[in-house]
Symmetry: C2
Subunit: 234 residues, 2 copies
DNA sequence: CGGTATCTGTGCGCTAGCGTCCCGACAGCG
DNA sequence: CGCTGTCGGGACGCTAGCGCACAGATACCG
């Protein structure tokens, strides 16, 4: 069920001034990311800055003695590695490929050169970092207050936005890992959503049937994250 | 019980190169922050950048239909308003004075001037933002996984670090608000800590008795936040 | 000195989510 | 074709935290 509305681009790059964008894209290397590939580990040096196109990436924070927890999702609307802007070259988070597909990337020196050459580029990335900070704060609150079913709906909607499709591949087990709950908790919530004909799934492939319905079920954090993005990034 | 070891300074400023630091401090206005004063509201323009000295500030994220939630604590080791660096002049969070006391501050134009004049200053603030991002991610995980008692212990230790004292004023009610739980939940956890002679409190004033013991009870997030700070900020 | 507001402690029933274990169904592989 | 691994579903008792309501205790204020 492909609905590839202009998926072969990264918005951060495509909304730059024509010249700057072209130059930076030309400097990029095109790579194919594959599911479950690790792009960065917390505490280790970032090697490349990624601009996903059809692919998307989870950012995950490790917790001793507990499962890990996803705190962000980066698709063609964003970038992984923008923290380099802050003058620290290690990754704060684990970056894990969630959705296979093409991505552009820059090595760190090339990235630094691009920043110097294009103030518009740097400005855009700074703004993006601001959005990410807001989303992190939102995630903290979301994890504290919202129920699994609402968080699941949110996650599905976020993923849909980044996959540019209403279907994608994901198991309950993996969802549980992302949301920091038991697999059984996901099964229960997913069953409930399916019962209301909002989604439909089978052995690792899931389809969103009723987007408006899901939005109603999802916690406000979905809308809030989106609002933060559009407000800041235009 | 004052233990004011060099509390009348802000580390971010005092660790700048001599000249830069002196010039920026000279540009600052000294103000006295008082408990429960609001310094910024989410979505509204930031008016001043604050460098707390003996005072400290909570950063709080609002959640519709639930209590709000503290996601950060800024004392003399930090700054409020550094997000201006990212090119967005609205505050992502609610900034609420937690501990009364002196602070330095800069108006936004003066802040921008200082950034231009001192690359070291800008570098330091960028690094601080990186630390804040790590702490936000940590907070997300902490809220998901850790029990009230551990989170309370963590909060007390963090506050102690920023108050530069083992005693401070805070009610269960307010703690509940900060941690996003019921007041009763705090009472229960606090009673347990007091029972083990780790703390002692009475009608809004609390004293930490056994720091090592509290560290053992607190979740790893306390150590983790601190490690992130010292690793990056030196 | 008495009244009132604030702060802390308790009790009660309830729910979401946990940990664990087991089962059935399907897919893919040899 | 049958084995094996993966995926989803269900059941068990348990705990942390919730919402609510109320009671004692202390501080403060008139």
């Amino acid at each position: 069920m492909p609905s590839n509305r202009s998926a072969a681009t990264n918005q951060l790059l495509s909304t730059l001034p024509r010249q700057d964008g072209a130059r930076i894209i030309a400097a990029c290397e095109a790579v194919e990311l594959s599911f479950s590939e690790t792009l960065a580990e917390p505490g280790e040096r970032i090697r490349h800055v990624y601009f996903p196109m059809a692919s998307f990436i989870s950012t995950i924070t490790p917790v001793r003695d507990h499962g890990n927890l996803e705190v962000g999702l980066v698709g063609s609307e964003g970038v992984f590695g923008a923290t380099l802007l802050l003058g620290v070259d290690t990754s704060p988070l684990h970056a894990l490929v969630q959705g296979s597909g093409p991505s552009l990337r820059l090595g760190v020196p090339a990235f630094r050169r691009a920043l110097k050459q294009s103030p518009a580029f740097e400005r855009k990335l700074r703004n993006y970092l601001y959005v990410v900070m807001r989303q992190l704060a939102q995630a903290a609150a979301c994890n504290r207050f919202h129920l699994v079913e609402a968080r699941l709906a949110r996650w599905l909607l976020m993923t849909r936005d980044r996959a540019h499709a209403n279907s994608f591949h994901i198991t309950h087990d993996f969802l549980a890992y992302m949301l920091g709950v038991r697999r059984v908790g996901i099964t229960k919530a997913a069953t409930a959503l399916q019962g209301r004909a909002l989604i439909q799934y089978n052995r690792g492939s899931i389809t969103l049937l009723d987007i408006a319905g899901l939005k109603a079920v999802a916690c406000e954090c979905y809308a809030s994250d989106k609002a933060a993005y559009t407000e800041i990034m235009g």
